[in-house]
Symmetry: C2
Subunit: 344 residues, 2 copies
DNA sequence: CTGAAAGCGCTAACAG
DNA sequence: CTGTTAGCGCTTTCAG
């Protein structure tokens, strides 16, 4: 025998006022006599009354709710960004739907539909899949619901973006290696990753500008990924490369997991980082700190990424007529212990 | 000039039927003529009609929504559990609110209220704070909303729990160390952690049973935590301990971060794990795999934890009369490279 | 099989 | 300052 939840009507009756007065007390948006107010509040707390979410929503059409899509939470990177988003949004009264798309384009779309159906006031999508961007899917839906895309393919797309200026960090890392005397530098990248493609472009342009020898074998490609498996792949490929002629004396890895794999490869040859090979990772995750030796890594400023994405989203929510824009965040090299001057 | 979203009324008018018929088509719960149905469906998809979430909720009172509370996402542990929950719940049509309490009791309560206000159908709380349990807060609210508490203090509390049988794993780890000849074993624990307290209890009982010397200094206590800071604290304290008389030859750490700190301490003394000290971590996070040497660690079967918690929650949601119950998950030692026989 | 009509619980004019 | 009332968009009897 469960007691039915009290409604505003019950409260009104018990307090001897009309429902509108109760409503006014709840919302505190119109003048109410102090005595009346007190009386109503008393009944409210006595009956543990909570206004019905749906009835309110029906009128305000507000959910104070935001959806966040991530390709994965098991990679030390996104949890930091999500936390940053969560904390920011929380302080603005929003609660967050977490959606793990498992990097599937289909899941991505399915989740977006679910979120819209649930009347979220906005959506942030981390690393959205390129096909969904190219197909116009996001462009279309961003007309219906405030949307921010983070670190995504963005050429000619009319959506709001927050992007890392990958170029700056990549160049800084490469310059640094060059400054240490390295000319035979390899790039370790993921096969189908947009950001890896970007980095390769910068790498090539850098090597060209410096007139360093560009060797095809020095672009080491492994399956895209951000987990333990990536470490394995990377270790295998780097190990092979190190056994070939003209082994690189320095490697720039497109994420920290790859860098760890590279370190393992070096170790397998009974050599060490940074004595025999200088190594720089990307993303500056905790892995870089945990690694032995500690890994120099290009930071993406993940907290900022989350914060800026949240800020942008809130702006769009406030002002839906917002003109799509791109916000760029800097990247820069964090120095640790994995690089050393080239030995003659 | 934004076109207003179409309502069921618009669809009805355009399809030349009544709103009830449209409703029946949408819900597919009453017979409708095939021709009529087709006509209605056509209009629906043409107008891209989506039934109003609130209006529906007002009647069904269902949100297909679940809240998950975590003390943190930046610790390699909870993301795995959350992912497991998310994946399970997703397949049952639920979407998940993620709430980062930052391990604050107050935030915990605030979030719970927010979630209830949003009409979630259930709540899973990972590592809830003990005070909130002891105060009866959770016991009371679990009467109103289906609730599952994971890895929490649970004596005499009438809530649904999913718990790791910490004893089994702890004992297995200690037995293993003893089998390698270690008798001077230290425990590295967090100061205010419930699970650390549990482990200390088992540790003491084990040492007693084996008649191994119990040294007060061998219970090394550092501030509770699950992050980089924990590594620092742990390294410092272990380093100190290693310099005292009768340094331990093996350490059981209450989580993997602590274990890494211990390894660093050993390294700082120009010694190595496992040659000079055997080391076992707890939680079996990726850190254990990433660590050099790879860390033997007691696994909490995090995926199972998430799955079982979700299963339990769904059962309660289906059958609210459910009698509060406790589900225990086993823990066991995962062997890697951080332990070795005691040298004479 | 289909339509009319009565709400669900709340807010927001509008009238006092 | 307060009460009356008309919906918000949908589902669900109840009659046909």
């Amino acid at each position: 025998m469960k007691k039915k939840k009290p409604t505003i009507k019950d409260i009104a009756r018990e307090a001897g006022v009309s429902t509108s007065t109760v409503s006014r007390v709840i919302n505190n948006n119109y003048p109410v006599h102090d005595a009346t107010r007190r009386k109503v509040e008393e009944v409210i707390s006595k009956r543990r009354f909570q206004p019905n979410y749906f009835a309110r929503g029906m009128i305000s059409n507000k959910t104070r709710t935001v959806g966040v899509l991530v390709p994965s939470l098991i990679n030390v990177f996104f949890p930091v960004v999500v936390t940053s988003i969560e904390n920011y949004l929380k302080s603005h009264g929003f609660t967050l739907f977490l959606c793990d798309t498992e990097a599937s384009e289909k899941e991505e779309r399915a989740y977006i539909h679910r979120l819209i159906e649930k009347n979220v006031e906005g959506i942030i999508c981390l690393d959205p899949s390129t096909p969904n961007i190219l197909s116009g899917f996001y462009e279309k839906m961003s007309g219906e619901t405030p949307l921010v895309l983070v670190n995504a393919y963005n050429e000619g797309v009319k959506c709001n973006f927050v992007l890392n200026n990958q170029k700056r960090g990549t160049m800084e890392a490469l310059e640094y290696l060059a400054g240490l005397g390295h000319t035979n530098i390899a790039l370790l990248r993921g096969s189908k990753s947009y950001s890896s493609a970007l980095k390769e472009e910068y790498y090539l342009s850098f090597m060209g500008k410096k007139s360093f020898p560009i060797r095809e074998e020095n672009i080491i490609t492994i399956p895209s990924g951000n987990d333990l498996e990536t470490v394995q792949h990377s270790m295998k490929k780097v190990h092979e490369r190190l056994l070939e002629p003209h082994p690189p004396t320095a490697i720039l890895a497109c994420n920290d997991w790859m860098a760890v794999g590279a370190r393992n490869a070096v170790k397998k040859l009974h050599k060490t980082v940074p004595c025999h090979l200088s190594l720089i990772g990307f993303d500056n995750t905790i892995i870089a700190e945990l690694c032995e030796p500690k890994l120099s890594s290009v930071t993406l400023n993940m907290e900022d990424l989350g914060r800026v994405a949240s800020e942008l989203l809130l702006e769009i929510i406030e002002k839906p007529s917002f003109v799509p824009q791109r916000r760029y965040l800097p990247t820069s090299l964090v120095h640790r212990e994995s690089c050393a001057p080239l030995k003659e």
